[in-house]
């Protein structure tokens, strides 16, 4: 059964990637939204002149953009299944519900990481040009991006599954997701900020933030894993 679960997981992931590469619906909407957010940030903050150090708010700006961007993709990933009744066909197959959950989480994670990989160079170009950054601590940014995105994809996939059957799914997802993502946001912003700003205490702050993020990931993934069967059968 373990090998069947692995086959099912790979098939789900492959299907989501093939469909996304064909339609580019999630990547286009998330990517464009994220880039536009960067432009809006730039225009809004350009009035501030040299009164503030962009490095101090860089982490907050980035994660705010990622949280809102992810909601676009999370909704789309489940709407695809629901609109055509495909979720029913998927649920009819002899697949353990957690396999569906982890398949969807992994797909959403990949698309979110792809959008983040596109957004960060743009952000650096707009806000961090000429700023002093420590390359050694900056190298830890991908770590927090990965850990933070796992949390977003995990909780977001669960909530998107819950909200996809409701009439105001976009609104419901936002109302549920943002409060639940708040603890994750605290950890990711702390860790990312430490990695960008650097300094003697940077690593201490970074790992404190990362501990928070990893703890959140473990708790939320386990809770989502436990709840998923109940939610899809309700």
């Amino acid at each position: 059964m373990a090998s069947l679960s692995w086959r099912q997981f790979r098939a789900m992931l492959k299907k989501d990637i093939v469909m996304e590469l064909r339609t580019k619906e999630m990547l286009m909407s998330m990517g464009l939204y994220s880039l536009l957010t960067m432009v809006v940030y730039f225009v809004a903050l350009s009035q501030a002149g040299s009164a503030f150090d962009p490095r101090d708010i860089a982490a907050g700006l980035l994660w705010l953009a990622f949280i809102f961007t992810s909601m676009l993709g999370l909704n789309r990933s489940l709407v695809h299944e629901k609109d055509q009744g495909c979720l029913e066909a998927l649920l009819l197959s002899p697949v353990d519900r957690p396999v569906i959950f982890f398949g969807k989480v992994t797909g959403n994670l990949i698309f979110l990481l792809a959008v983040e990989a596109l957004t960060i160079p743009v952000f650096a170009f707009l806000f961090l040009q000429g700023e002093t950054v420590e390359v050694s601590s900056l190298a830890f940014v991908p770590l927090v991006l990965l850990a933070g995105s796992i949390g977003i994809a995990g909780v977001g996939t669960l909530l998107a599954t819950m909200s996809v059957n409701t009439s105001g799914k976009d609104f419901i997802l936002a109302v549920l997701f943002i409060p639940l993502a708040y603890p994750l946001l605290l950890g990711t912003v702390t860790a990312t900020g430490a990695a960008i700003v650097g300094g003697p205490d940077a690593m201490h702050a970074f790992w404190a933030g990362m501990a928070w993020v990893l703890g959140y990931d473990v708790i939320m993934l386990l809770a989502s894993y436990g709840l998923y069967e109940f939610i899809v059968g309700a």
Partner: protein
């Protein structure tokens, strides 16, 4: 010897209730169906027909009561049971942005089918879509989608096949293909079909069930059925409204 004595039960449903809030879509349904039988389910819109099929296919959990398909509990043995059932719905349940072949290969993987390419090729030929296997499902007509949906449902050679208004929206050619496929596998499988077409449903069935307001109004083997009385009962239920 009756069917019930010859074969093990395909369906054992006991006092099954499914509520959505305070509304009972199914209310104390009890039925037994032997293996290799063909059950046609009739009833007005909102009678609970689709809810019954959803519970029996483990898409919905019952609120109370029990249901077994091939001796497997629909809640506790759901994963094992799903390996042995298939559903053909009026909704094709296919991914429009995958090709016909990709759709079937995906579901073949989900069912753990050995040599999926061989099985998929067989079925595409059976539903006469092998020449369109590389086309996206979104480019298919309603009839072609339904044929592909039939292939999807039969991929893993299920023992019990649920049909939720399978003839709805089909052109005559697609109807013939579905009739042909049912005839081919009729003797070895159990069928449970929801239908609004009394003639078609009665022509195919070995057992007939009328549901209204989530309750069983009539459940009889075909051989014991007085067709005139059955039609009268059905007409009376149509005016009964939803559960």
């Amino acid at each position: 010897m009756s069917d019930t004595e010859r074969y093990a039960p395909a369906l054992e449903v006991r006092d099954l209730t499914r509520a959505f809030g305070v509304r009972k879509a199914l209310d104390g349904v009890t039925i037994d169906l032997p293996e290799r039988a063909f059950l046609s389910i009739f009833g007005p819109n909102g009678a609970g027909k689709t809810t019954l099929v959803k519970v029996l296919t483990s898409l919905l959990n019952p609120t109370s009561g029990t249901a077994k398909v091939l001796g497997l509990d629909v809640v506790n043995d759901a994963v094992e049971m799903r390996q042995r059932i298939g559903l053909i719905s009026h909704n094709p349940l296919l991914y429009p942005d995958l090709t016909a072949e990709e759709n079937l290969l995906f579901f073949a993987e989900m069912y753990g089918i050995e040599k999926p390419h061989v099985r998929v090729a067989e079925l595409l030929e059976a539903v006469e879509l092998d020449h369109r296997k590389l086309d996206l499902a979104r480019t298919f007509s309603r009839g072609m989608l339904q044929r592909l949906s039939i292939a999807r449902a039969l991929l893993h050679e299920p023992e019990v096949i649920f049909l939720d208004e399978p003839y709805s929206g089909l052109d005559p050619h697609a109807m013939d293909i579905l009739d042909g496929l049912i005839a081919q596998i009729r003797a070895r499988h159990t069928f449970v079909m929801i239908s609004h077409d009394l003639d078609k449903g009665l022509e195919l069935c070995t057992h007939a069930l009328i549901l209204a307001k989530g309750r069983v109004v009539l459940f009889e083997p075909r051989e014991a059925l007085d067709v005139a009385r059955f039609r009268e009962t059905y007409r009376a239920t149509v005016g009964m409204g939803v559960a």
